[in-house]
Structures are given as structure tokens and as C-alpha cells.
């Protein structure tokens, strides 16, 4: 697959970093090249956090990109910061629970998903990141929902957090189902 880069951005605590790791793991389990790069530093203690996950069938050069293929914006500052950088014909998944629909660009596929409400239905606010990834998976041709579920399961297993696999799978499925 062509180099596919995704920026995931949100408040500290929204699971941005973990979502990126799961994307990278998803690519790796598919036998593809991957990189994952966090923004690190003081923001990890509650400010805005973001990370970039790249998946490619070729060796990846830069782990940072000028223009990502996709953006997952979990809060308003994230959209402000990254919206204009997304590639033409790229994808933006917007957390419509907190972020107004972007109006700045028309050559972009925008998917509005009320992440917080869906997570509330599931009964676990921590899974909003997986709702977002589920929506992302619907519009990325080369990666299926099953791939992401596997990446999530393997990541949580390695972390010793198997007990959360069920709620996270539900979140991925709901995100996928809701996206249009």
C-alpha cells in the first residue's frame, strides 16, 4: 500500500497515544512497514497530545509528515492545528461530541462521529479512541476492521489489559457502524 499516515490528536487522557500504537501494531501484524511517533513532553500531562502512525508497504523514511493522509481530531484545538495540513482527498474523523463540523475544505472526506456519546452507550468513556479508529477503518481501503481489532487485541494483551478487549472491540465495531 502507498504510505498512509494518520495523525491522531486530542486532549491528554483521550487515548491518543494508545490509538496510534494500535494502528502501528495493526500494520505490523499485516506484515507492513510502520512507524509511530508521539508528540512528547509536558502535554502528556493533560494538554493536547498527538501522534503520527504511518503504514506502508515500503520502508518508511520520515516518521513525521508535512501532510498526513488522515486526521483523527478528538478535540477542537486538534482540528484547528491539523485541518489545513491533511492531503487532498484525505480523511478527517471528527469527534462531533466536542468539535463543530469543519467547513474549511471541500476536497476532504469528513466523518463526524459523536465519540463521547457512543462511548457512553458502551459504558466506558475510555474507549472513545477505539470508536474513532473504527470509523477510520471504514474509509481506509487497505486496512479492514478485522485488522484493527487484531491490532487492538494484541496491543492490550501485551499490556496485560486483556479484560478491556471486549469493550474496545465493541467500540471499534460501533465506530465502524456509525461512520458514513
Amino acid at each position: 500500500m502507498r504510505e498512509y499516515s494518520t495523525v491522531i490528536s486530542g486532549f491528554g487522557g483521550q487515548g491518543v497515544i494508545l490509538a496510534g500504537k494500535i494502528l502501528a501494531r495493526t500494520g505490523m501484524e499485516r506484515g507492513l512497514e510502520v512507524t509511530w511517533l508521539p508528540s512528547y513532553g509536558p502535554e502528556m500531562r493533560g494538554g493536547t497530545a498527538n501522534c503520527t502512525a504511518i503504514i506502508s508497504s515500503k520502508l518508511i523514511g520520515s516518521p513525521i509528515v508535512d501532510s498526513p493522509s488522515a486526521l483523527i481530531a478528538m478535540n477542537p484545538p486538534s482540528l484547528d492545528k491539523f485541518e489545513t495540513r491533511v492531503q487532498e482527498n484525505g480523511l478527517i474523523v471528527v469527534n462531533s461530541s466536542l468539535v463543530d463540523e469543519p467547513k474549511g475544505r471541500d476536497n476532504i472526506k469528513v466523518v463526524n462521529v459523536p465519540l463521547n456519546e457512543i462511548a457512553k452507550e458502551i459504558g466506558n468513556q475510555k474507549v472513545i479512541n477505539m470508536v474513532a479508529l473504527g470509523a477510520w477503518a471504514k474509509f481506509v481501503e487497505e486496512i479492514s476492521l478485522q485488522d484493527v481489532i487484531k491490532g487492538m487485541e494484541m496491543t492490550l494483551t501485551d499490556m496485560g489489559k486483556e479484560r478491556f478487549i471486549g469493550s474496545n472491540r465493541e467500540a471499534l465495531e460501533k465506530g465502524f457502524g456509525h461512520a458514513e
Binding site: 500504537k21 512497514e33 512507524t35 511517533l37 508521539p38 512528547y40 513532553g41 520520515s62
Partner: protein, 351 residues
């Protein structure tokens, strides 16, 4: 599929050190290398005979390394730029006492407190002898997480072979990012060379002395001359570099570490525009691969050096290339990382 693990650079360096037979690790917390220390805290005690000790200071850590190296054990410390400055006294003593040890520098923006973003401002410090006195240390600059793993594993062998400190010179990006890594096998203890010079208790032999000290000019001169003879062997045998697309390019870019991998993306961007960029990447930044760069410089008019500093490796590039070669420089400072697009714009000024 080979057994790969998705790891941060910091974690891969730590685990590879353990697999290389490092059993004594001493360090002090600093961003962006903290995951290295944290990995060691968990996994070093699991290794047989493994010592993890969080030192009271950077100075304490490097001197604990000095002690463990004196005792003939494979040993390592790690830090980031300000902390490595503090270790320089100890690195000078390690070099002066001919002790093998591995020091990891996950560079960040400087000078002073600077910031915690990736930077390459410690190139001079690493490659020109960062402490007092005449010495060099082998300096390995990885540009990917798998390479950071391999170079760390090799660093212990190089340190033992030449009785010298070896530095892994990476930056916050390599330390923080994750890539799939195929970790090396654990080195069997019998493959680690014996160290008859070590201070392990003078049983059945005369006392060994580890010192960087010699009164009288002639004595100290002899120690220095012997060391520089070893450096000549290192320069002869241990030079490493990578070349990409250097067969008849329009321009050659010289870059190390993180910047070099970004240049690889620039090469692809440029190809779409019909522009051929070659990359020359020193893996050993000391010894610097000057001879090969000199040969390559005959192929092009311009060697553009790109770094995350205000121009450090470019001085080695200028010394290496032919007199007629143009040697412009593009650098980002203060923890700013150039993007592939930034670099391509710069290239277009020269071709």
C-alpha cells in the same frame, strides 16, 4: 514472518544492551530517554547477575560505570544532552583509563536547558572528544529503531575490542518513536572476551591498576601514543556508512541519524519531480567516513549537509570532499525537525 516487536527506540536500545551481555546499568532520569531507564528497571534485574541502579546524579552514574568497567563487566549509562554534558568528566576518565563502556545520548534541543525536542547539537561534543584531554570515542549514529538496536549490540563488542568508551548518538525522535524490531539473540557469556587487565582481586597474579594518571611527561606520552595507535586501527577498520541512490545523482545530501531517514523521504518526493538525490549517511560519525565521501564528491558539484543543528558535521564534510565541491548547509535548530518538503525546497536552490 520473523518475530518482530513494536518498540520505542529507547526500549530497543535497553533490551539490546541486555542481550549484548550488559549486566550493569546506571543512570539518572531525563527526558527524552526516560523509557530506557524504565525498561532497565524492569528487565535488568531479570537478567542473571543484572544490576540496575538509579544513580544520585549523572556524575554518579558515569562513575558507577567506571567502577563496573574496571571490574571487567559490560556496563552502560544513558542520558540526554544536558546529562551527557555532566558525564563528560567521567567519559574523559574512561578514555584515559582505557575502559570499555557504552554511553547513550538521546539528544535534545540545547544549549543549556534547551527543550526536550529532537536535536543533533551534540555532534561536536561526541566526535571531537567532549571532555578534557586528547581522546576520541567511537560514535555510532542510528537512524532507525532497528538500527539503534543493532548498533547498541555491536557497541559492546567495539568497546571491548578497542578498550574504549563507545557512544550511541541518537536523538529524541529515535528514542521516542516506535518501529518493528527484530531483536538480536542473547550473546552467550563465552563469546564475551576475557579481560585479564580488570580489577577483580589479585588472585594468583600481580595487582592490576586502573588509572588515567601517570607522573612525568614521558609516561603519559606513552599512554597517549598507544591510545592513538588504537584510534588509527579504528579509523582503518570500523568506518561504517550507508549510501542511497549515489549512482549518478544530481546532488548528494550528507546527513546522519534522524535527518538521514527524513532525507530518504525527500529522495522519493524529488523522484516524482524528476530530480535525483543521493544520500551519504555516516553511521560512524567518529571515525568519520571521509575517504568514501571524498570519492563520491567527484560525482557531483554539490554536497549539501543537512542537520538538526547550526552546522557541525558539515565541517567534517568540508574536510572530506574535493576542493572544488560546493558544500552548502541546511540546518534546523532548537528542536525543530525538518520535513521532507523543507529539505526538497533547500535542494532546489542548488540544482
Amino acid at each position: 514472518m520473523v518475530d518482530k516487536q513494536l518498540m520505542r527506540g529507547n526500549e530497543a536500545i535497553a533490551e539490546s544492551a541486555i542481550r549484548a551481555g550488559c549486566r550493569n546499568y546506571f543512570a539518572y532520569p531525563i527526558t527524552p530517554q526516560a523509557e530506557l531507564l524504565q525498561w532497565m528497571a524492569v528487565h535488568m534485574p531479570e537478567a542473571e547477575g543484572g544490576t540496575f541502579l538509579q544513580a544520585e546524579s549523572e556524575i554518579g552514574a558515569i562513575n558507577m560505570v567506571y567502577g563496573a568497567a574496571s571490574a571487567g563487566e559490560r556496563t552502560m549509562t544513558s542520558s540526554s544532552s544536558p546529562g551527557v554534558s555532566l558525564k563528560q568528566e567521567g567519559i574523559s576518565y574512561l578514555a584515559g583509563a582505557d575502559l570499555p563502556a557504552v554511553v547513550v545520548n538521546i539528544m535534545r534541543g540545547g544549549p543549556g536547558l534547551g527543550n526536550i525536542q529532537p536535536a543533533q547539537g551534540d555532534y561536536f561534543q561526541a566526535t571531537k572528544g567532549g571532555g578534557h584531554g586528547d581522546y576520541r570515542i567511537i560514535t555510532l549514529a542510528p537512524s532507525t529503531v532497528p538500527e539503534a538496536s543493532r548498533l547498541t549490540y555491536d557497541a559492546f563488542d567495539l568497546a571491548d575490542a578497542y578498550r574504549t568508551p563507545v557512544m550511541i548518538l541518537a536523538d529524541g525522535m529515535i528514542g521516542q518513536m516506535m518501529e518493528p524490531v527484530e531483536l538480536p539473540e542473547r550473546k552467550p557469556p563465552e563469546e564475551i572476551p576475557p579481560k585479564p587487565w580488570a580489577t577483580t582481586g589479585a588472585k594468583g597474579r600481580e595487582g592490576n591498576v586502573i588509572k588515567s594518571f601517570a607522573l612525568g611527561g614521558e609516561n603519559l606520552k606513552a599512554m597517549n601514543v598507544a591510545r592513538f595507535e588504537r584510534y588509527e586501527k579504528i579509523e582503518e577498520k570500523e568506518v561504517r556508512y550507508e549510501e542511497v541512490n549515489t549512482d549518478n545523482p544530481d546532488i548528494i545530501l550528507a546527513a546522519f541519524g534522524t535527518v538521514a531517514r527524513i532525507v530518504k523521504s525527500t529522495i522519493r518526493l524529488a523522484e516524482e519531480e524528476g530530480l535525483e538525490i543521493g544520500l551519504f549517511r555516516p553511521v560512524t560519525v567518529w571515525p568519520f567516513p571521509a575517504a568514501r565521501l571524498n570519492e563520491l564528491s567527484a560525482e557531483v558539484d554539490t554536497v549539501l549537509t543537512v542537520e538538526m543543528n547550526a552546522g557541525q558535521m558539515v565541517e567534517d564534510v568540508k574536510l572530506a570532499v574535493r576542493p572544488e565541491t560546493e558544500t552548502p548547509f541546511y540546518g534546523e535548530v532548537g528542536g525543530v525537525v525538518p520535513t521532507p518538503g523543507n529539505i526538497l525546497e533547500e535542494v532546489k536552490k542548488y540544482v
